[in-house]
């Protein structure tokens, strides 16, 4: 969602916490080459920090035993990796076929107006970020949005109001 051309420093050193360290060690045994661990390690880092800083990318490279450039390449190719912080609530609205037919635009417009955000932006207080994404695999209950990974189906403005009221 963000500018994917550069990394931002968090100013903090990065290492996996013990649970993630254990998960890394569990997974690495499952692959015959270490590079296969780049994506899983990026996920672990992002789950821990919420986004991927320069430090996290460097750490993943070192843990996997590869170049930071290679890790960075994957972090830019795959759009779910965040190269800058997202909001405390990250709202993804599906914009493709079935949701389009079921008026996803109303959802986008309402959220944009209510949060004062255009898709791709993060609110100044860091509470919300809005993103338009491709098919979320819930087309039979369109339009759908995903908030911090959780699906909300058959959305309409009424349901959005309730949903937003519950986020603080």
């Amino acid at each position: 969602m963000s500018d994917r051309s550069q990394l931002i420093s968090s100013g903090q050193p990065f290492t996996f916490d013990s649970a993630r360290d254990a998960e890394f060690e569990r997974l690495i045994k499952r692959y015959p080459i270490r590079e296969s661990m780049i994506m899983p390690a990026l996920w672990l880092a992002q789950e821990q920090e919420g986004w991927l800083s320069t430090e996290a990318i460097a750490y993943v490279a070192e843990r996997v035993g590869t170049y930071p450039a290679k890790v960075f390449e994957l972090a830019t190719f795959y759009t779910m990796y965040h190269l800058k912080p997202v909001g405390k609530y990250h709202l993804c609205v599906c914009r493709t076929l079935s949701c389009y037919l079921r008026e996803k635009q109303e959802i986008v417009d309402y959220l944009a107006a209510e949060l004062g955000l255009r898709p791709g932006e993060v609110s100044e207080d860091g509470m919300f970020s809005l993103e338009e994404v491709e098919c979320l695999g819930h087309c039979g209950t369109a339009p759908v949005i995903q908030v911090n990974g959780e699906f909300h189906e058959e959305m309409n403005v009424e349901k959005l109001k309730t949903l937003l009221a519950g986020l603080d």
Binding site: M39, E73, M80, R95, T96
Partner: protein, 426 residues
Amino acid sequence: MEVKILSAKFDIEDSHRLEVAKKHGAYGTLEKLFAMDPADVIEEVKNSGLRGRGGAGFPAGVKWGFLPKDLDKPIYLAVNSDESEPATFKDRYILVRDPHMMIEGIIICCYAIGSHDSYIYIRGEYTSQLKILQEAIDEAYEAGYLGEQVAGHDFRLDVTVHRGAGAYVCGEETALLESIEGKKGQPRSKPPFPAVVGLYDCPTIINNVQSIASLPFIIEKGAEAYRAYGTEKSAGTHLFGISGHVEKPGMYELPLGLPLMEVLNEVAGGVWKGRQLKGVIPGGSSTPVLTPEEAHTVTLDYESMAEHKTMFGSGGIVVLDETVDIVKLVENLIAFYHHESCGQCTPCREGLGWMLKIIRKFIAGDGREDDIELLLELCDNIEMKTVCVLSAACTMPVRSYLEKFRHEFESYINSSNSDPVQSQAE
């Protein structure tokens, strides 16, 4: 019309948990399986007529037969759970409602092809689904259905979930392999095919979640029982996802071969709000659209779809009512494929971008008559001239809209011509 083969446990509470799934027969085929010769398992699957449910419809048993014999290399199974084609939402039900059916299917497939390492590639957006799946795998390990000795037999099997991160192209089988190898998801040129040179340069079978989940039934009840559903060339049942402008959108398991309109009207409640039908997309956004006349003659199987110059695809049926603006719909489609292009082929990377610019010209009221021809020409110049068929997944449907709904594109031209004041104002 609905049947319950794959979806037999879907309505049972907590059916994703081993204890519950076992009560309803999960892992019941393993004794029979291990008493069979792997070659006979392949033969049984061939005889069942099971075709790949990921979109291309390639016979599953035949694909397994392409593995080189006696090669001194490991063989891998990759289960395709990327499910990212717009309007496709069937595999998800298997992942969350009956993951043990899929794990049992993986055991069957791996035993048949001689694989000891399987990867399930799941799309990154499926977060809660991933959790349920991983818990099911953990339970299967604990219960001894996975690991060093599958169900007490001298057969090791490890199953690992590899999580994608938002790239539709990773559903393409070779991009999926690249992604597991820790690279960008850029498809490989074929040949060599993955059955010969696949994951980590080793022979690899890639199958869709639903294909794999269909195996326990086939092994338990036999090829003939599976063939009792569907048609001669399109055997079995399929999880159809019906979405768009219908009264009752949703996922329905049906035998193949039913008339499309009967399914739409009787199962999905017909076109919503009493409106007229404008068209039907039969199998995900990449399949050419059917006009209402065509929709009335087509049946839900691979042959009938081909006869109607479209494709069965992923079973994601989308209903378009009379209010749909085809030009804007096409813009939405092209935008998706353009966004998801992996960028390695010029015709796809640049061509889909040009198509998007031209369609946006129409919408802005600046379209010209020869732009329709230009779009068609672009489709010809892009299609089949690229490493993978993602580009064709865009051009094939776009061509169908241009041919079948040409008047809608023309009306965008005419309206801008007939209203010079408005076009000057822009």
